[in-house]
Symmetry: C2
Subunit: 473 residues, 2 copies
């Protein structure tokens, strides 16, 4: 046996014996070299071997760690969708979820809220507070319907990271990504039109389709690579689809990042069948790897992609500031925005422009990405520890949400009712489907820094799932 294998086996045994526990840092390369009297490169070879076996994970500049979860749980199934356009339902369930204000008595694992407690947000709050004291027209009256020029400049600059070269003039600031998506849908579609959506999909968009009298055609999505292109092609062949709406980067709720080749292929399909693409990129900047993935918009040549995003997931939802790069639909989108809310509040726009121009945004993003990646690892560990082994779990590549699939027939609504008695709330899977699918699934949030309180809540979820599953047997 080679030296590095001997060393690897020794380390592996220590890990198996629990000498190093999940999440622990393993000894440094230098320390092992001294301890075992082998060269640095032998230790590195040993670690690479452990890495291949899933027993060690490297972290840049920090060394090797014991993975949080050593056995990855199975992935959720690719969704089986109705294969025909449907009217969207589930409004009552969405309403139930969003009616609750933040409350100290309820651990709301179901909401799509980022962590807003970190120190890197402070400069933004200082800007907000200082600008709030200014009694002048720039903060207190209507701004331009297009948005604050300084913020549009900054957003244009930020979009370069995703491969988009879009001048500030072609960006419109909106009241959150919600308004961007809502305006995009109305700019492209008429009542009765069919919109193809990924499935599971963000409930906000589907409720907008419902409200505007459009139909959703749910397309099966792979939990690692996203929307099925073959299913999409078939659908485009079969139905008069007006637009494709999807979240290809750090998907909500599945957490996948659609490969760049698939993004290009999807755009080609859209060109071939001449349909618009409404791309939700609200989590795109929270991909765990850097540089961030490219958007479909970055490959767009003829302005058919309407890119929608916001600062709600990267900074704070309470700001209610988003944006849209509407391509060729600019005038229609402006009209829809004017109808919906008029101009967007100036104060948060000005504070955001200051924050980004001051160089505070990148360090904040770096911090949040790292925190959410650790949160993901911890959540996977907790699920492995506390959930029945029959559940299937997504492997988020960004953002702060995880999707858990229970066996067929499981009722996540009943689960939520039981949990609420214990002060815990999850998002039931069915709100992520136009046709009420995914009732056996749930979405949980891991944005908050791991704490005993959150761990207890997750444990409670796992135990309640187990007890409901036991009833079934």
């Amino acid at each position: 046996m080679t030296r590095y294998r001997l060393l690897a086996d020794a380390l592996s045994a220590r890990i198996e014996q629990g000498l190093y526990r999940p999440g622990d840092r393993l000894p440094s390369v230098r320390a092992l070299s001294l301890e075992h009297g082998v060269s640095l490169s032998t230790v590195q070879q040993a670690y690479r071997h452990l890495e291949d076996q899933g027993l060690a994970v490297p972290r840049p500049k920090s060394g090797y760690f014991v993975p949080m979860t050593r056995r990855a749980p199975a992935l959720p199934n690719v969704s089986r969708t109705p294969q025909r356009p449907v009217e969207v339902s589930q409004w009552d369930q969405v309403l139930e979820q969003i009616s609750n204000a933040p409350s100290p008595d309820l651990i709301q694992l179901g909401r799509g809220r980022p962590d807003i407690s970190g120190p890197t947000l402070k400069p933004l709050l200082r800007s907000l507070s200082r600008l709030s004291r200014r009694q002048d027209v720039s903060t207190l009256t209507y701004g331009s319907i297009h948005g604050d020029p300084a913020l549009r400049e900054q957003v244009s600059r930020l979009m370069l990271d995703s491969g988009c070269h879009i001048p500030a003039d072609d960006i419109i600031i909106t009241t959150g990504c919600h308004e961007a998506l809502s305006a995009a849908i109305r700019a492209v579609c008429e009542p009765g039109d069919i919109v193809a959506v990924d499935s599971p999909s963000f409930h906000g968009v589907m409720q907008a389709l419902k409200g505007f009298g459009m139909k959703a055609l749910e397309l099966p999505s792979d939990p690692l690579t996203g929307i099925s292109l073959s299913a999409l092609e078939l659908a485009l062949e079969q139905w008069p689809i007006k637009a494709i709406q999807l979240t290809p980067t750090c998907n909500n709720p599945l957490g996948y990042i659609m490969p760049e080749a698939s993004k290009r292929a999807l755009l080609s399909l859209a060109q071939r069948y001449d349909v618009a693409i409404i791309e939700d990129d609200v989590y795109g900047e929270l991909a765990y790897h850097y540089p961030r993935p490219r958007t479909i918009k970055s490959f767009d040549e003829d302005g058919r992609v309407l890119l929608c995003s916001s600062f709600s997931k990267t900074l704070a939802p309470g700001l209610r500031i988003g944006w849209i790069a509407p391509g060729r639909y600019r005038d229609r989108v402006l009209h829809m925005k004017y109808m919906g809310t008029g101009s967007t509040a100036q104060l948060p726009q000005m504070a955001l422009a200051e924050f980004i121009a001051g160089g505070h945004y990148e360090p904040h993003l770096r911090r949040m990405r790292a925190q959410y990646q650790r949160g993901r690892d911890m959540m996977l560990e907790w699920i492995a520890r506390y959930f029945p082994t029959t559940v299937k779990v997504s492997q988020p590549q960004g953002s702060f949400m995880i999707w858990v699939e229970m066996p067929d027939g499981f009722d996540s609504h009943r689960l939520n009712r039981e949990l609420q008695q214990h002060g815990v709330q999850i998002a039931t899977g069915s709100i992520f489907s136009a046709s009420g699918k995914f009732r056996n699934c749930l979405r949980m949030n891991y944005a908050a820094k791991p704490s005993a309180q959150v761990e207890n809540a997750v444990r409670r979820v796992g135990e309640t799932i187990a007890s409901l599953l036991a009833e079934h047997d």
Copy 2:
């Protein structure tokens, strides 16, 4: 001749001779009694006589004043409307107006902006600034879709002043009155439906009708009493009208207050033909007399009135906080709001709730009402001084906007283009009509405290009108 008439004639002569100029305070009752050796009641009789003749106006606790404008100009004509539902146009003109951000180089007499420079706003800015520093979920994350509970309580209390007893639970906070109106329209109507509107009417609502594919049936409105009830009844008889949308109190742009009896009669008609009423009350609290006029909503018995309002005209538009009391349409309105923007920003809601609960709102309203009334008087005076005598002018009873009608064939678009070269902007009349009427009219704002700069701008408007009219001859 009686003593009081002798005294009245003497005073009248002094006014005519310019000894007291428009806006001057006239001698006190006591001073005149001493000067002329007559009783206090004789002086009072003399003043009442002058008042009847339009030569003196009393101001509570301040005595008598020379009216700013002694000859009231003629009122605008009652609009002649198309008598059939039309698709709304004029979006390009509206866009032109709202694209301009506030600028020191442009006197924007055309915008619907209140004065935000007064000291009574200070406590609100202090609250905003203090709350902005708070890094917690209540300010930085999503609030309830219904709005902040404390603000809803305060709005419920405010609405008592207009005769409305509406519990906080039946009020939904929105992103400005714009979102309230937009949600109301979509909650009540489907694409293709007909909505009866006052004419001239607020362009925001009409652009919403356009965007949602509805048709506007413009009803002639009297410049003193508002929407013609006989025309409305005829229209209800003839067309399948789904809703009536109007601004009955301090109408935009005409400034009238619909008499209470007419409000009741309009509600009866709506009941008889079973249509909804979308009541825009955004200027209602700025009526010059106190207590403020009642809303149509205050007479509503079966929840058919959707009352829409905001703090944009009373406090500051930049807050983007409005509300809706949607009556029986509550669930639909909530859905429309969720689709459009999700929940409304928490920070300004919390600051507003503090401001109102702290007793700062009433004194602010009193101050603004008085300022705007003086602004109205000054604007009427300037128009009398600088505008051709052929113009007709509204007599606003509240708010801060005046409507000027030039002779038929006059082109306010051309006027605006000429004016912009001189750094002045007015609102062209045609944006206040679904069918592009009122091209010979304009709207101006008198919210700002009278200044030489504004007076020059108004003089420039008058001179440019005169020169354009001269070309015609």
